[in-house]
Symmetry: C2
Subunit: 221 residues, 2 copies
């Protein structure tokens, strides 16, 4: 019963996601959906990524949180157009749904963007279930979260196209088996590129940014 | 429309949670619902807590994950009865609902327990919305997650009765404003006790365990 209800919500979402996808294609903009647990370092990663993409790639950002505009305030400093979505206006939703993205995108001039990055609500479960019309998905995983998250939250790692293993600067201070973590990601999604990085120090960010540039280049003309 | 559907699911859940609460009362067992982001250290905290509660308090555990029995395997080593719930059997649910707890509790001998601890699915949003018939709720927040999580996920901090600020052993290696984090928790829930601890080193666990023992003592006879 509960599952049937959820199925219906997802069907409606898929229809709206297809409409978003058509809009983004017509605007010639590549859309990246960034997802993770709360506190994995998505916003810091995004700040550094935006700095490395400029001026080659013109970016815009939609950032989702249940509450606060903290992340939008931080990202606005990069000079990139940012729209904040607070899901508490929709009953505290735990993810960004396609219709929310459609509405947020109206507040951006997509003709002036090559790449729209969506920073989803911090949640390793629900956002993976909601197509928003994106071209690629990336999951950020902090090494402080332990090695087993890919096995515990397999859908997230299955639907993503890249994994960012973040906060590697903390590795000397953790009991962390990095080989096991990489193996767990590969077990769920064998071909997915994995970028080890520290958004805080900037170490390891370049290969990720190159990968993202390549993705954008392949879509937009 | 989506909100109406969610409301109905929550109403059904509340009815079942009330039934659970009646069961737990009749069995004279105190129920703690432990919630957090993925990777905050819930399971390590629980392992250490169980060790400190024995032999005074007889415990049982229900542990929820989308997938894997990793946590149940770890907790079973403590000698405490453990039931693992995998929500992928219910469409990959992002939380433990009351009917799931009712079913899991049937696999435990509640006559032999004073305290049932439910380790919820790692998720700072959805579990806060689902009453499972518990007596108290605790949220574990790792210092690696940043200072702003209470403001971004206010419902979780509003509904909880205690906050565990975990992984304090990593503070020397982080840019973390602990005073701001504590202030953010207090802004959402002024009277809530906050326990600073490192489950890994064991530092700071005793006051939390004493608090929990007190809670249990006040309910069971």
């Amino acid at each position: 019963m509960e599952i049937k209800v959820v199925r219906k919500v997802l069907d409606v979402n898929d229809t709206m996601a297809a409409r978003n996808r058509e809009l983004f294609r017509s605007k010639n903009v590549f859309v990246l959906n960034m997802m993770s647990s709360p506190g994995s370092g998505k916003t810091t990663t995004l700040e550094k990524t935006l700095a490395l993409l400029a001026p080659d790639v013109r970016c815009a950002v939609i950032v989702g949180d249940v509450c606060t505009t903290n992340d939008a305030d931080r990202l606005a400093r990069s000079g990139v157009p940012v729209v904040q979505v607070n899901t508490d206006a929709f009953g505290g939703d735990c993810h960004l749904a396609a219709h929310v993205i459609e509405k947020a995108a109206m507040d951006l001039d997509l003709d002036q963007a090559d790449l729209l990055i969506v920073e989803n609500v911090g949640n390793l479960v629900c956002p993976a279930e909601f197509d928003i019309g994106e071209d690629a998905r990336a999951v950020v995983l902090s090494v402080t979260e332990g090695e087993d998250k890919p096995l515990k939250y397999p859908l997230m790692f299955r639907v993503c196209d890249a994994a960012l293993l973040n906060k590697t600067d903390l590795l000397p201070h953790l009991d962390y088996d990095k080989a096991a973590a990489l193996e767990n990601i590969r077990q769920i999604h064998p071909q997915m590129p994995i970028f080890e990085m520290s958004a805080r120090t900037g170490a390891g960010l370049a290969p990720w940014v190159e990968w993202l540039k390549d993705q954008v280049k392949h879509k937009i003309r």
